[in-house]
């Protein structure tokens, strides 16, 4: 286990997250990608604090704060998903074109 190996693992996890955010059409799939990216960042924080002489408490505090923020973010995102599903019967991001204006595509969509 080296610093470079740990950072490379976090980089791969982050790229998986990017792929999920870009490729998924399901809102929950996008949320999964965001969580993967947050975890990659957390691994980086702890890896640097483990291998480079700093105050070890700081990285742990940062990671705990990030985990708490991720919990809040997931709660809000899932509430929005439920509301969207109730109103539109779909959580497909390609169907969320209400803010695009009065296009012909939306008229045929409804």
């Amino acid at each position: 286990m080296t610093l470079e190996g740990t950072l490379l693992l976090a980089l791969m996890l982050f790229c998986f997250g990017i792929y999920a955010v870009l490729a998924r059409r399901n809102l929950i799939g996008i949320l999964i990608g965001v969580e993967l990216m947050l975890n990659a960042a957390n691994i980086n924080f702890l890896a640097f604090s483990h291998f480079i002489p700093t105050d070890p408490a700081v990285a742990k505090i940062i990671v705990l704060v990030v985990i708490g923020l991720a919990a809040a973010e997931a709660a809000i995102a899932l509430a929005i998903i439920l509301k969207l599903y109730r109103q539109r019967s779909s959580i497909d991001v390609d169907a969320m074109t209400l803010l695009e204006g009065t296009g012909a595509e939306e008229a045929s969509d409804e």
Binding site: G17, H50, A72, L82, K83
Partner: protein
């Protein structure tokens, strides 16, 4: 050579692959849970057992279960997920480009010291003391954010705005 980090890394990457490749979104959430357990194992090998336990408690026990609830309540079957080859190719190219760039940066970076530090036995106490003294602002802000998230989630998913008391009596 210790194998615990390798095992945790394999679990993490396998779970993440499952999470991004499954067309069924419920299987993807299970993959995310597996990946998060692997991340907790990595935290453990990085000498942070408390953070690892918190990761399992909050992520696997909280966020993944909440996601499963959301999947079941929105009951999505997405048959179009597979046919969208162009978007998947574009996403793979973007993620691959980012990976190559990051790996190049990592390859050329010079880090101060590659030695593992094993001097943080009492760091949990330091975490608690620092969290309530020096980093108290982050702690308090996080508690306010969590409270707002709870109230906001309730407000968002509420079925309809509450009627005034007299209108409710009239309706009854």
């Amino acid at each position: 050579m210790s194998y615990d980090f390798a095992i945790a890394a394999v679990v993490t990457l396998a779970g993440a692959l499952l999470a991004i490749s499954q067309a069924n979104i419920l299987h993807a959430v299970f993959g995310l849970a597996i990946s998060l357990v692997g991340v907790a194992g990595i935290f453990f090998t990085l000498n942070s057992p408390f953070v690892a336990i918190m990761e399992v408690l909050i992520y696997v026990g909280g966020i993944a279960v909440t996601m499963i609830f959301a999947v079941m309540l929105s009951s999505v079957t997405n048959p179009q997920e597979k046919e969208n080859v162009g978007r998947r190719l574009m996403a793979a190219v973007a993620a691959g480009t980012f990976f190559v760039g990051g790996a190049l940066v990592l390859h050329h970076a010079e880090f101060a010291d590659g030695k593992e530090l094993l001097n943080s036995e009492h760091s949990l106490q330091a975490v608690g003391v620092n969290l309530l003294n020096r980093y108290n602002l982050a702690f308090e802000t996080l508690s306010v954010v969590l409270l707002l998230a709870i109230v906001g989630a309730i407000v968002i998913v509420r079925k309809e705005p509450a009627m005034p008391a007299d209108a409710e009596e009239e309706a009854a």
